[in-house]
Symmetry: D2
Subunit: 463 residues, 4 copies
């Protein structure tokens, strides 16, 4: 059913997804309406294959139905749905119309709509996880690891509260995202794998199946095994809600990590900081009125997607609640879940693209570090004073920072001139004195830890 | 740009909106991507008309540009956007391509993107409010008023905590929704009318305009007046966020009223209650496996839309925050706001359709009321006892309810047989005794209040 | 009932509110458990006064009950509640225990719990609005107005996307918050005034009242008038939900404005920017390990309160839904609403305190502005080129910014040296040339608009 | 610092937690302000023990500091905090005041505040999980298992959409909650165990530690091992956010399962259904005006807690974002996390109490099942028709349900009388005919599956 993209109302369709061939190719089978139909037909076919194996129907009938699934058209299902107001029965009717009278009774036999829908959804999201979400996130992780390692020795000022704290390296700052994203990739992977189907009938007690088989739990397992799924331990008309809740939580919290990274990169591009830059093409326009603008719009877009999609989690929590053997009040809301998958994959791909071309400026990072004129040395100064026996070292050091600020002198100068501290300073080794004097060497194990983190995640995620 | 509806990912597009001709006709100009372009071109044209009036450019140039807006194609804008990564400059370039070299400089002159975007958005949402949202809600309100008045004397048991309380009428129960929806219609109408545009340049200080005019605040007022809008009192690159926040709050809280009504109607359709029914067509299917099912699926769908869209409010609150003269982190998220409009209008139309055909069953309501065998009379009994001087009337009445429950006797029987109460009962008038005996007349002013509420809202909303 | 503050679990109690004498004094009557009791007793007394006026009971009895309300102890109510599991009946029993047998029947006569609770809550929140919330916000507004006016001519670089845009003044940046906060003060004031009580009995149909009076709607109006309230237009066991929903929305969206201001102030304190500073006392410690740190912790705290309390709005939306004549599933959740009031007032007071002492550094603002070496002049340059007939002025100017960036030359220098632009530049007036050369004068009407905004809000809020 | 409970503003403090001795005893060490201090002192002591082991200070000094932690008073810390506005430095100063000058330098040596705070929080929440949350949830799980097994054969009508579907047993309905809660217990246990501490200094690069040791990563591991914790793989000033995000998600989604169970129990107590009842004490009052009311207020309270606390998850997602090596904007908001623990434990205890005394009424369940007069048999009828070759069995059966409804006859009667179906019915076995006639035996494997589910979870959770 053709429509014009510009008549769509969802930005995903007209702007971020449906007009993006690569995304459609990557995600279409799992998130589009077309994909939904295909998945539900796959479930119908899996059931009938198992029925044949068990002798409930002949193999010929199973083959006939299986083959017929390929001929069902979404247009027809939609039209039938409009007539009878029941989307699964509509699909069943259309499938039945494609098979012989002998085969008709075995279409959807013993099944309730949500045997098909919940199982198909679990299958789609599990496939999306394996085929699209995790690979996309791994691509990004790989980019981040390379970048972190490349910049592991690039001196940068560490910032807490937006204030200069003590030095780190830029690679170390990125390593934190390598690790957090790594953790989320595992969470997404596990949550995707934990999605479960159900073939237990209208209220979950396998009522109808007992008309034909003695071991309906085994039957359920066989059908789901056809699709690479495990059964929900318990079910009513629907599978247990929590695996899906955990899955969307994993997606949403992954978006959160990307949003945090985006925020950091945005701020490092502030005119006053300019430590990094998004690549800007020669033809790109930053502002319709201010020709000089180079805006971090990709990072802003990533933050924006998080703002748009994180609150969707509330919907998923609301859908945890379904009365008795289920109410249908999750019918519309659950249809929006694939949008969260699209949001995450589109965002991760964008992040990967811009981080892959991120421009870091070590010279500027050094200039920025020098801005605070050794003030960071107040930390090692205090700690060394304490270690050499000063009873109130933090306070002593703190007062010197006020003096440095008031006089405009660099902290090390003030420190080494402080008369009352001479007995302690005299005990400092040369290396310790150097460290207070040249705080840029006070980076701890930033470089080494960057390596360890990258190595650890490479091992955990790729092996 | 044609696509297949089934390749879309948003349920609004493939299922609830873009495939629904009436909704598209009603809302298209305000919520679709096509509508956005048209609105933004209308702003560009309004500016140039004012520039001509002021002599900044000639009237001929203004007319040329105005006429050219009709020729700009979304396809071209999209393509240009892909090249330069700036959606407003893309639109400007396409509009400039349609005019003479003389006119070119006056396209978008003195404007920043968000002069156009924010103003166009305010215009679209204000129009949507007047032309689509409020009329749709008024249709529903009219249906509810008629239904409430029709059922104002239909005896129904009042329920609190899901327990029988004391009697009301079905119309009275509906009147509460007449009033709550009435209040929300006013809230939506006011919030829509309070949306504001801005023509104040890149940081809100009218910097560029000062190059040409002495009274930029007046200029802003004139441009916006062309579009029936008022200016945001202050602005940065963007208008003040709060009017839009209030607007979405009004929409979302209206959805909440509909969801509550839907919940009530769902529960009144429980098999054990069956006081009302959604109309069910002869061909409609309730369950793919249980042929006897008549499910309140429309009401469930309404509840489901509320679950899907209420949490969007969190996004809007997040977008209240924009750094300094603005950051662009609301760029993607704000594009989703029209979806909330679609959700509300689609839901209200559905509600109107099913409430218009709602089947109420007075006989069943009476049977249900009789279920509790006069237990509700414990309330008037207690109050009359108290009024006639019983020092502990509530406790006395409460104990009789336990006795009635234990013995299975109707409460009135137990009450009139209670020896220690005879001195008080003796003082009851005949009417008061009757009322305890026949609690169905204990409906207070349910009918009268229904009328008053309906009258009040008819007056407030239609005059 | 004494407990130790450190055994509390709520940070409001042990850290932000209950240990803060001024806040307790300001808000206690409206937000504490003690305040709730007092308000509910006031409702009981108001009812009995009206009953006496109407002759249902004697004036002496009304006076007796009124006087007795002062003697009811929260400890006793709590104990009785633990016995009978009904908090309003517990209060009624304790009040009855304080009066004569003749008066007992008239305590709580014709009332249901939520006549008392909803009315008392409306009264408390309305009072809190008038006596505490609005005055606190007005104090802050006054501080912001003074600050904006003081700094109205202080040159500052305007920033969009964190990038230098074009110049404004610091006062102008603040004026935007003057206006947004002003709008929220009106919203809070209106929403507080729109809160409504209800005296309509167990299901809203005034069933019990009809036993005694002919005009229960008038009775309801009289009782509520005693408390300065108006009745909910419709009610079930409870008042219409929406006025309270609007009220909390007003509070939460006000917090959003404060959070945005806090974010701006945080970022202006970044070491690299340092345009403003929170006052820091001589004894204050910024970090337990980094003695040099001066963190914007108050602004961070304000942002943090917004993060903690904005999502509470979701709870309020959930509580919009109450089945039939009500279910009690808002019982616990609604008790948390006063916390939002506390959060807003505490935050506004903190904001007022720090903005009142905010240190702005005009010299640093100028240094920061100079950082971008006239790049902002690309905007007026482009617009003037366009106005003087350049057919592609934006693109011409944009390319010069790339050249300036590549060569490290200031933009004005590059601009005036551009050969192909000479025909246009020749037409510039001296003033226009100056403006491109010295972009610090390109502030539009920043100063004047600051004045107008401050004046407007002073007029709207204080008159 | 004593205060009066009634001056508190948090319902947790004045109503649900701080006045509940058992809860305080169970949770106090993990959730109260007092508990926080104790945990942070424990971290300080752990560090100094490791320093002694490594020879950085003497064992005597470590012992002295360790012993001194017991003497630090919250009152003093609070007072010092008010002076210097830094809660960790305040604690450090108070601890230093308790030790000799020799020991002073080793208090908090090399540590940043959040080494202490994040580690202490991880320790508290992990302890709370092991000692309070999981045991409480296991108690409830045990109660549910016993109840499910007791009622595994109690016939009950299954309901979907609030409509009678096909029969199950009450135990089977409960088994679904046994399984869902079981899954959440594992999720909470795992998330609690995955919480991690950090001892890596002000920006996470172990800068200060490198002044003293060569292997700061090993040092971190040793300190955390003292507390039974593992280190965050990466850290900045703070540990990675995600383990805490996952933990609160586990708590909140567990609340969701309880809310769903509460909803089901509420609805089964509707007057018209009355299949179960909350125990009601002889003295309990249901309504202040309606003495006959027995309200499901405990279940309503549980739903209400979910509404109050589920949205807190949004705060936790917001706190995922912290700029650069951290901003402090989670400072206040993170203090509220223990409230979620309190909410879950209080709710689970309440649920356990009422489910332990839940009254189920098998006779009423049978009466309710009979209400729909065999309509459920339409499902097996359709399926058997299909199996015996009817080409359009669902439609045939569906039409009979309309006939049954129209004529008021029981479905089985209509079915067996249908002439066109006789060829198929003739093929039914006696058992199959019986099943259509007496649909109460059409419960599938409800009883057996109940047993399997209970057994599975008993095995997984207790072994």
């Amino acid at each position: 059913m053709p429509i014009d993209l510009f008549d769509c109302v969802s930005p995903l369709d007209y702007r971020y997804y449906a007009n993006n061939d690569k995304l459609v190719q990557l995600l279409g089978p799992y998130v589009s309406e077309r994909g939904r139909l295909a998945a539900e037909l796959a479930v119908e076919a899996a059931v009938v294959r198992v029925l044949a194996r068990r002798g409930v129907c002949s193999q010929a009938i199973a083959d006939e139905i299986d083959a017929a699934t390929a001929r069902v058209k979404l247009e027809d299902v939609t039209q039938e749905d409009a007539r009878i107001h029941h989307s699964t029965r509509a699909l069943v009717n259309c499938l039945r119309a494609e098979v012989s009278d002998e085969a008709k009774p075995f279409v959807h036999l013993m099944l309730t709509s949500f045997d098909v829908k919940d199982t198909a959804a679990a299958w789609r999201f599990k496939q999306a996880t394996e085929k699209a979400i995790v690979p996309t996130l791994l691509d990004l992780e790989d980019t981040l690891i390379k970048l972190a390692l490349r910049e592991k020795d690039t001196l940068q000022m560490g910032r807490t509260h937006g204030q200069h704290a003590v030095p780190i390296t830029f690679g170390f700052a990125l390593a934190s995202y390598v690790s957090r994203l790594g953790g989320r990739i595992e969470a997404v992977r596990d949550a995707g794998a934990a999605l479960r189907g159900k073939i237990s009938g209208g209220v979950g007690a396998h009522n109808a199946q007992c008309l034909f088989v003695d071991d309906p739990i085994e039957l359920e397992r066989e059908v789901l095994a056809e699709l690479g799924l495990q059964p929900s331990i318990s079910s009513t008309q629907i599978a247990e809600a929590e695996p899906l809740v955990d899955f969307v939580h994993a997606l949403v919290s992954t978006l959160g990590v990307l949003a945090n990274l985006a925020d950091d990169m945005r701020h490092l591009q502030r005119t006053e900081i300019s430590e990094v830059a998004e690549e800007f093409t020669a033809e790109q326009v930053g502002s319709s009125t201010m020709p000089h603008k180079r805006n971090p719009w990709n990072f802003e877009n990533i933050k924006s997607f998080w703002k748009a999609f994180m609150p969707r989690m509330v919907t998923v929590y609301l859908d945890q609640i379904s009365e008795h053997q289920r109410d249908l009040s999750n019918s519309a809301s659950a249809r929006f879940i694939p949008e969260v998958i699209v949001a995450l994959v589109a965002t991760a791909r964008r992040m990967n693209r811009i981080m892959g071309k991120l421009i870091a400026d070590p010279a500027q990072m050094k200039r920025i570090l020098d801005l605070s004129e050794g003030m960071s040395a107040a930390e090692p100064a205090y700690i060394l004073l304490a270690a050499y026996g000063h009873p109130d070292a933090h306070e002593a050091s703190r007062k010197l920072t006020l003096e440095a600020q008031a006089t405009g002198k660099p902290f090390p100068e003030v420190f080494f001139a402080a008369e009352d501290l001479q007995p302690y300073i005299a005990q400092f080794t040369d290396k310790q004195k150097d460290l207070v004097r040249h705080v840029e060497s006070y980076t701890g194990i930033a470089s080494e830890k960057t390596e360890r983190i990258c190595e650890l995640w490479r091992g955990r995620l790729w092996w």
